[in-house]
Every structure is written in structure tokens, then in C-alpha cells.
């Protein structure tokens, strides 16, 4: 039995050593972020069908599982078992790389999102800049997919998407610059802490126009309705991913929804105080001390999730409400309306900081 013991001991030692390696720890943390994210994506598609169904007085999916709860699982299984068709004349390597380039950035950006005061995967100085850079890379998935498919519809979709994303990235970047100015930091954790106090201290109020522009640009960046000309089912079939099937199509799908969640989380973090509790500042301090209830009322990741969910609901609401923008009108809105407004507000924020305006900049 001695040898068994020592073997057990060495295995235990090894696993302790193994799990104390930073690389392994980071891997585990990544899994802890990505798995819930993927589940959220799956159930976001379900929520979308249910909510839009409700808005259009329909039922949505009801058949798979109780009240249709297993529908996303069934969809995923279906896509996994379908054949991946590569069109003739397509550039095979790029055709396969494209969806990976699409989902990679959508997941990588999560590294710097703080979930509460302590937990963030990579607490880097230039966090917000990193998010901006990484999300701007996502467009390559769309462009490469459109080009590598050797299909006219796909190329048209890619072209539209490229022009649109470049246009709205500028407005979005400027909106984020005002946040950086207001918080005085590029670190996302610091940005959240700069908003603490009460819901009136959150940046949505002093940066209200930027808040609106950020979210609308976010909708445009993710190619969602009413800015979905890159897919434009009624005009160019499915746009850049018209030639994709099976699992590669599913990856595009995942990337789109992961991006939606990312934009929503960022909106919550940058303008609505992230994990800060909305009750802070106007409920008596003692309430936060109560066991159980205090945990619920105090700061925490649940507030971040609720705020994110609100923005995700907006996404779906927009889709159910608005007709698709025409291409030239999208360009007009981006270049001639949003960018001038952001530049003006940039100066306004500068003035507010200079004069120590209100309780945000004192």
C-alpha cells in the first residue's frame, strides 16, 4: 500500500503544482468567463425569438423542451451536424479563417472587463484602448468572409460592412474619449470607481449625448437591425455569410451575439457604473449591512448583469421596431451627424472639467 500512497501523493503534488502555474490559472479563468458567455449567447437567441414574438403577438419557439427552453440546444446540435460547404473558387484558407477572426476579438475583449471590484482577468492600464483596438479588428472576419466566398452577394455585404464599421468606429471612439476624459483614466476598473456615489454620479448624465451615440454606434458596429445592411436578407440574401453553412456559420452567429453582449456590457460599465449598485447614496448605510439583503442591494456582479440585460433588450426592441436604414443614410448619420456631435461634446466635456462642473468633475 506504500507505493499507492506515494503515487497518490505525487499525483496530488503534481496537480497542486500544475494548478499553481499562472498559465494554467489564466486558462481556468478564461474558461470561467467564456462558458457562461457561450450559454448567454445561446439563450440570447432564444430570448430574441421569444421577445420579438411577444412584440409581434406570436408565441415564438414552444416545441423543444418545456416552453421551448431547449430550442437553442437543438439549434446548436443541428448546426454541428450539418456539412460545411466550401464554394468552388473560394479561397479555402481564408474562408475557414474568417469566422475565427470574427469570434476571436469578440471573446478576447472580455479579458479587461471587471465583473466586480476584485475580479478582472487582466487589469491593464490601457484597458479601454485595448477594447477599442480589439473590437476594431473584428471587421476583418466579415471582410475576409465576403471576399473569400467568391460570391457577389457576399462581397457586397463585406463592402457595406467595412464602410459602415469604419464610419461608426470614429464616433464610438470619440464617445469613449469623453469617458476617458471624465474618468481621467484608461483603466476600466478606475473608470467604474470614478462613477461611484449614486446613479446620478454615473456618466450617463454628464455624457448623455455620448451615451446615446455610443449605443447606436454599437448597434451599427455589430451589424444589427436597423443597421444590418451587411446581411440585408431582403436585398443581398445574407450578405457576407451567405455561403457559410453548418458549424462555420454557427461561429459567425456566436460572434455576432457575443459582440452584442460585449457592447451592452461596455455601455453598462462606461455609462451606468458597471457593478455599482443603483441604491448607493440614497438608501441608509445600515441597509447594506443587513445579511442577505445587503448583499443584494450592495455592489456586485448582479447589477452588471441586470444593466447588460437592459441594453440587450434594447437591441431586440430596436430590431422589432425599426425598418432597415438605407446605405447612404447610414453613412450620412455616421459622418455628418454623429461625428460633429461627438466633437462638440468633446469640447463641452473639456469645459466641464476645466470649470469643475457639477458633482462629476469637482
Amino acid at each position: 500500500m506504500e507505493w499507492l500512497n506515494s503515487a497518490y501523493q505525487s499525483v496530488a503534488d503534481f496537480s497542486v503544482w500544475w494548478f499553481s502555474q499562472p498559465a494554467v490559472l489564466i486558462m481556468l479563468q478564461i474558461v470561467m468567463i467564456v462558458t457562461p458567455l457561450m450559454l448567454a449567447v445561446a439563450y440570447l437567441t432564444f430570448a430574441e425569438r421569444k421577445i420579438i414574438g411577444a412584440m409581434q403577438v406570436r408565441m415564438g419557439p414552444t416545441r423543444v423542451g418545456p416552453r421551448g427552453w431547449l430550442q437553442p440546444i437543438a439549434d446548436a446540435l443541428k448546426l454541428i451536424f450539418k456539412e460545411i460547404i466550401i464554394p468552388t473558387g473560394a479561397n479555402k484558407v481564408l474562408f475557414v479563417i474568417a469566422p475565427i477572426l470574427s469570434i476571436g476579438p469578440a471573446l478576447a475583449a472580455w479579458a479587461v472587463i471587471p465583473f466586480n471590484a476584485e475580479y478582472v482577468l487582466a487589469d491593464i492600464n490601457a484597458g479601454l484602448l485595448y477594447v477599442l483596438a480589439i473590437t476594431s479588428v473584428g471587421v476583418y472576419g466579415v471582410i475576409i468572409a465576403g471576399w473569400a466566398s467568391n460570391s457577389k452577394y457576399a462581397l457586397l455585404g463585406a463592402m457595406r460592412s467595412a464602410a459602415q464599421i469604419v464610419a461608426y468606429e470614429i464616433a464610438m471612439g470619440f464617445a469613449l474619449v469623453t469617458v476617458i476624459m471624465a474618468a481621467g483614466s484608461l483603466n476600466i476598473g478606475t473608470i467604474i470607481e470614478a462613477q461611484s456615489g449614486s446613479p446620478l454620479h454615473w456618466f450617463w448624465l454628464p455624457l448623455l449625448p455620448m451615451f446615446v451615440i455610443y449605443f447606436i454606434s454599437g448597434v451599427a458596429e455589430t451589424n444589427r437591425a436597423p443597421f444590418d445592411v451587411a446581411e440585408g436578407e431582403s436585398e443581398i440574401v445574407a450578405g457576407f455569410h451567405v455561403e457559410y453553412s453548418g458549424m462555420v456559420f454557427a461561429v459567425f452567429f456566436l460572434a455576432e451575439y457575443a459582440n452584442m453582449i460585449l457592447i451592452s456590457v461596455l455601455a453598462a460599465v462606461l455609462f451606468l457604473g458597471g457593478w455599482l449598485s443603483p441604491f448607493e447614496g440614497w438608501l441608509p448605510e445600515a441597509w447594506f449591512e443587513i445579511t442577505g439583503l445587503g448583499l443584494l442591494l450592495g455592489h456586485g456582479v448582479h447589477w452588471l448583469l441586470i444593466k447588460t440585460a437592459i441594453f440587450l433588450f434594447f437591441y431586440l426592441w430596436l430590431r422589432a421596431t425599426f425598418p432597415r436604414y438605407r446605405y447612404d443614410q447610414i453613412m450620412r448619420l455616421g459622418w455628418k451627424v454623429f461625428i460633429p456631435i461627438t466633437i462638440v461634446w468633446l469640447m463641452v466635456v473639456g469645459l466641464m472639467i476645466l470649470t469643475g462642473f457639477g458633482w462629476w468633475f469637482d
Binding site: A126, V137, I143, W147, I165, V166
Partner: protein, 200 residues
Amino acid sequence: MIEKLIFYIFAIIMVFGATMVITVRNPVRAALFLVLTFFASAAIWMLLEAEFLAITLVLVYVGAVMVLFLFVVMMLDINTALLKEGFIRYLPVGIGVAILLVVMLVGVVGPENFSLDEMAAPERHGADYSNTRELGSVLYTVYVYPFEIAAVILLVAIIAAITLTLRKRPTTKYQNPDSQVSVKRDDRVRMVKMKSEEKK
């Protein structure tokens, strides 16, 4: 050790990417390799603790400039055969110049001038060092004049681009969203009261 490894990995990727940019036949693939090169150089900048420059390189060049570049390249149908015309003819001269340049470069840009003994490595900074803050503090003080000139250059680029592309044609049709939005029901619908047909 691990830093050296990272450096060599990205340096190899960078050299490979740069070589592919000038050797692949397809312009779209060349542009994509250029993107790869930018990424690798951003990573190397990161090793130099210049995270602001690294991220800005990705944000500006990869995220915007190269996207527009690809946009244009995909639209054009570049005839590569035509571009190769005269390639053989100029090859001897080209090779001659290239060899001359390489010999000169090797003679000058070698370890005898740029080794670590000649140029000391920059000192490492702590975790609280912010490259962004450091850059900002010299950019707006010591280098404020060049910075302003750079801004003027960008302004000229905008003016030039608009001058060269904006054409006002009398036949161009466009909508005015303001007046579209401010349309009232009365502008579009006219209620006409008619007597219904009378039975005889």
C-alpha cells in the same frame, strides 16, 4: 528568457509577413499579410513597454487604414500580368541596387554600432508606469509645436481629399432628411369629400 522567446516569435512572424507582402501575387492577400506584419510589430512594441503605441497601431492601422485599403483593393481588378511587364528587364539593375544597399546596411547597421554595449537597453519600469501618461506629458509640452503641425497636415489631407473627390453635378439627386421628417399629414394626404352616388 520568455521575453526573448516572445521577441523571436514575433520577429519571425513580422519578417515572414513583410516578405509575403511583396511576394504574393494576389493584392488582397498581400494586404492581409501587411495586417499580420502590423500585429507582430505591435507585439514587439508591447515588449518595449510602449503599450499605447502598440494598441494605437492596431487601432488605427489595422482597424481603420487597412480596412479601407482592403476595401479599395477588393474593388479594383488589378492586372498582375501588366504589373510584371518589364520585371525581367529591370531585374539586373534592381538586383545590383539591392546588393549594394544590403552591403552598405550590413556594414553600418551591425553590432559594432548598435549592440547593447554601444546603446544601452532602456531601463525597465514598474507596473504603475503608464506609457500613455508619459507620451501625453511630452506631446503637449516639449513637442507641442510639431504636434500642432501634424494636426495641420491632417487638416490639409482632409481638404485635399474632399477637393479631389467632391463633385457637384446638377443631376445628382439627394434627399433632405430634415424636410422628410418634418412632413405633416396635410402635406401628403388630401381629404376629398364627395357625395356618394345617388340611387335613382
